[in-house]
Amino acid sequence: MTVRILLVDDHPVVRQGLKTLLEGRSEWEIVGEASDGIEALEKVTSLQPDVVVLDVTMPRMNGIEACRLIQEKTPGREVLFVTQHDSPQMLREALAAGARGYVVKSNLARDLVEAVEAVSQHRPFTALARPRQS
């Protein structure tokens, strides 16, 4: 079955990079793109994707807020955060907002495909870049 994916990041270049990483899988379809949280909510409502790949830091509405609202208004979607914030605190916030996955941008080439695969099957996938001292 096709997994329908929405890509959300304020940098078109990053969205382009995400596409090149995901396009190898024939059963995955990128159904749309958004550049901030508000646009993401609109596209989630109209396109009903299975997986939302979401950046954290974006203008107008950030990803954490968008994730909360996506889960509240259109439950049934899995959210995978893709972020530069290599921080346990941000990871906790993402999970509290209802995300199923969290990967750090510096490790995307290694982690993204595996993470999308996991969350599309409703399995959690979280990976920080390096272990932190608490």
């Binding site: 270049v13 382009q16 941000m90």
Partner: protein, 232 residues
């Protein structure tokens, strides 16, 4: 003959996106990818690309200092800098360093191909958001545009700027020494010279100086996050 492009950005996902953009053009080839300024310099010397695209906010050696060092080595290099900010100060520094192209990362999908084309035909390219006056002022008067500001950067030598960035990134003198192939003692001499020249007293002061002068860049977390962390 192919147009050969060297790409330097510390984020692989950004490099992927840029490669995809550039390689859509027939006859263009990304001949190398570097993840920081030091690597970019080594690769540029070796590969002699037609165009070099450098992110400004890279670890170990930022894009502006990479530009300066590359042009010192060979003034023929054609360099485009990619930036997340179009502040006047960064634009002036990029011009001053000798970059011929200035593209905002957020506009790269639209502007980067045009920038490479411009450089290829010996023109300059600045993102349309750059204030014309800033640009004209700089080009007409040379460096005069910044005459009202203290010349904070030229005080330091190239080596001292490298050391400043590495120390501000949190590296120890020993780590800096190993990265630059110097003795720890030499690094410590550079460090005390830097502090003396800039009138600073602590590494904390040095970090502030490095941020203010675009030697390092900071990334802020999302606004409503309950825990405020700053990633340098």
């Amino acid at each position: 003959m192919k147009l050969r492009i060297l790409l330097a950005d510390d984020h692989e996902i950004v490099r992927r996106g840029l490669c995809a953009l550039l390689q859509k053009r027939e006859g263009w080839e990304v001949c190398g990818e570097a993840s920081d300024g030091r690597e970019a310099i080594e690769m540029a010397k070796q590969l002699k690309p037609d165009v070099v695209i450098l992110d400004i906010g890279m670890p170990n050696l930022n894009g502006l200092d990479t530009t300066r060092q590359l042009l010192q080595y060979d003034p023929q290099f054609k360099i485009i800098v990619l930036t997340i900010t179009d502040s006047d100060q960064v634009i002036r520094e990029a011009l001053d360093a000798g970059a011929r192209g200035f593209v905002l990362k957020s506009d790269a999908a639209r502007d980067l191909v045009s920038a490479v084309e411009a450089l290829q035909s010996k023109r300059m390219f600045f993102t349309p958001r750059v204030n014309d006056l800033v640009l004209r002022g700089f080009l007409d008067k040379g460096h005069a545009i910044s005459r009202n500001e203290p010349p904070s950067l030229p005080i330091l030598t190239t080596r001292e700027r490298e050391v400043t960035q590495l120390l501000a990134e949190g590296k120890s003198s020993k780590e800096v020494a190993s990265l630059l192939n110097l003795s720890t003692k030499t690094v410590e001499t550079h460090r005390s010279n830097i502090m003396r020249k800039l009138g600073l007293h602590s590494i904390r002061d040095l970090v502030v100086y490095a941020i203010k002068n675009n030697i390092i860049q900071i990334q802020m977390p999302a606004q409503p996050a309950t825990t405020q962390t700053t990633v340098v």
